[in-house]
């Protein structure tokens, strides 16, 4: 690892782990409630499904994620990319275990390294564990069902890794805006554009690592289906978990994004003003991508952003497919029975 680990770590962690003081009381409480619900659900699922032999794996996987996050993947000049590992964890362990593991990582990082605030834990857990891990898993699982085999898995992990990074960034921006720290327009633009780039690194690294694991221990590299190992068979992961965590992530996102981003009809706007939400029409000023969408009127800008977002997502999906094709040679492609 490079000789300036503190700065590298800075660059990676600072973009996602919200420190204390950046989000206010009500946001902290709301995110804490959502996170507690999500983690509670995940714990319950893990207790029911995880064979006792795999309990230490949770702790070790958390230690693994921490160690993996410290590795610098050189990009350009002095910058480097890092793995966050939400979707990777979900692909290897399943969504519930991944949420428990990611929560553990965040808690230990918060206390031991002051990486992320204490009251901001609820928000950080929601962003990275529930949206990043759980929400990312929903996308991964869906793509896997659609594209079978190792190639499908690799494409799924790459695409879901990108999506989860961007979604977590949106969530983070929404929380900052809810707290009045930064305006929504600026927060959304800044966070999303930066993380659309970071997400590429996340997707690529996750795919490469998953493939590396598959090559050495195929039984570890896939969480769905049967595990023929020392003693346990892993239960088939049904849609219940997928839907559950997906809904929770979506609910939270909607809850935070809607008030700050959506065009308010007049009546609601006065209510909002009375409640202290100082929301003006979306007029993103900072950072290039948004500048092109300067269409008069709120609806236009929002619509244009949505279309651009959708287009970008499709492009990334295509890239993920190409990546999978490049990484998985014909001989290695496994067909599901």
């Amino acid at each position: 690892m490079k000789r300036r680990p503190s700065t590298e770590r800075l660059a990676q962690s600072v973009v996602m782990h919200i420190p204390d003081g950046f989000i206010d009381g009500k946001t902290a409480i709301a995110t804490a409630i959502l996170s507690a619900a999500g983690v509670g659900l995940a714990l319950r699922q893990v207790r029911r499904q995880l064979p006792p032999r795999r309990v230490p794996l949770l702790g070790l996987a958390a230690a693994f994620l921490f160690a993996a996050q410290m590795i610098n993947f050189p990009v350009a000049g002095g910058t480097s990319g890092h793995l966050l590992g939400g979707v990777l964890a979900a692909a290897l362990l399943g969504p519930s275990a991944a949420i428990v593991v990611l929560t553990t990582v965040l808690i230990v990082q918060c206390f031991l390294f002051a990486d992320g605030g204490v009251l901001a834990l609820g928000a950080n857990i929601f962003n990275m564990a529930i949206v990043g891990g759980g929400g990312g898993y929903v996308i991964y699982h869906t793509v896997c069902r659609w594209l079978p085999g190792t190639r499908g898995q690799v494409a799924a992990v790459a695409f879901a890794g990108w999506c989860s990074t961007v979604l977590a960034a949106v969530s983070c921006a929404a929380e900052l805006a809810w707290s009045g720290t930064v305006r929504w327009g600026a927060a959304f633009t800044a966070m999303t554009s930066v993380h659309m780039v970071i997400g590429v690194g996340e997707g690529v690294i996750s795919a490469l690592v998953l493939l590396a694991i598959q090559r050495v221990r195929p039984d570890l590299g896939s969480e769905a289906g049967e595990e023929v190992g020392r003693g346990g068979t892993r239960p088939y992961r049904g849609w219940g978990e997928v839907v559950g965590f997906g809904l929770l992530a979506a609910l939270g996102l909607a809850l935070f994004v809607a008030p700050v981003a959506c065009p308010w009809p007049d009546g609601l706007e006065s209510v909002a003003a009375r409640l202290g939400f100082k929301h003006k029409a979306v007029a993103p000023a900072v950072a290039a991508p948004a500048a092109d969408y300067r269409v008069p009127g709120v609806r236009g800008a929002a619509g244009a952003t949505a279309v651009a977002g959708a287009a970008g997502t499709v492009v990334v999906f295509g890239l993920a497919l190409l990546l999978a094709r490049a990484l998985v040679r014909e001989g290695h492609v496994k067909r599901d029975a």
């Binding site: 950046f22 230490p56 949770l58 070790l60 590795i71 206390f111 690294i205």
Partner: protein
């Protein structure tokens, strides 16, 4: 490398503060953080009193000041980011100064507490607070093995680097991904052995 980050966390010095019960320290720290986060921008009195308390605690706990300042640097990009954005588009309430002050106070509080409290004390408090057992076990195991795995990762990376002759980012990424993948496989196998060791001493 990790010692650069974690550094003085290891060399916990005996002091008045380190001898206080973990529950007390965590409770007080939590109170300080909650108060600071909820305090309105104009509450200068609160911020000053927090700064005084922190100053006293730092002096009593004998945590090196330079170490604290280095950790504070972690905050700066975030604060700068907010300051920049707010300069162009003022936010709803408070300026970036408030945010900076609040986050500094909270960060210092956490660092001082974590450097004067052994982790087992924290685990004990979590158990008392009825945090689910599975989560506590996971946190405990993570803490126990994170140093082990970080060192293992560093060794593997160095070994790989000494045998990598192709230059270029693509090769580096392949190498590093293999290291990360191997790290997971080893962690997984170690987890199985830990399970065996736990069972061998009667765990059910």
């Amino acid at each position: 490398m990790i010692d650069d980050w974690v550094g003085h966390y290891h060399s916990r010095r005996e002091s008045v503060v380190s001898r206080l019960p973990a529950g007390l320290k965590l409770g007080v720290a939590l109170g300080m953080i909650v108060g600071t986060v909820l305090a309105p921008p104009g509450a200068i009195g609160w911020y000053v009193s927090m700064a005084v308390v922190l100053g006293l605690t730092v002096a009593l706990s004998r945590v090196p000041v330079l170490f604290l300042l280095k950790r504070l640097a972690w905050l700066s990009p975030f604060v700068l980011g907010v300051a920049l954005v707010n300069a162009l588009q003022p936010a709803a309430r408070g300026g970036w100064e408030t945010v900076a002050v609040k986050s500094t106070i909270c960060l210092l509080t956490v660092i001082v507490v974590s450097n004067t409290t052994p982790f087992s004390g924290v685990l004990h408090v979590l158990r008392e607070a009825r945090v689910p057992g599975l989560l506590i076990t996971t946190i405990a195991l993570m803490h126990r093995y994170l140093f082990v795995l970080v060192e293992e990762a560093e060794r593997m990376r160095r070994a790989r680097a000494s045998r990598t002759f192709r230059r270029g980012r693509g090769a580096r990424w392949q190498t590093l991904s293999t290291v990360v993948g191997q790290l997971f496989v080893r962690a997984s196998e170690r987890a199985e052995r830990i399970y065996d060791a736990m069972c061998a001493r009667g765990w059910k």
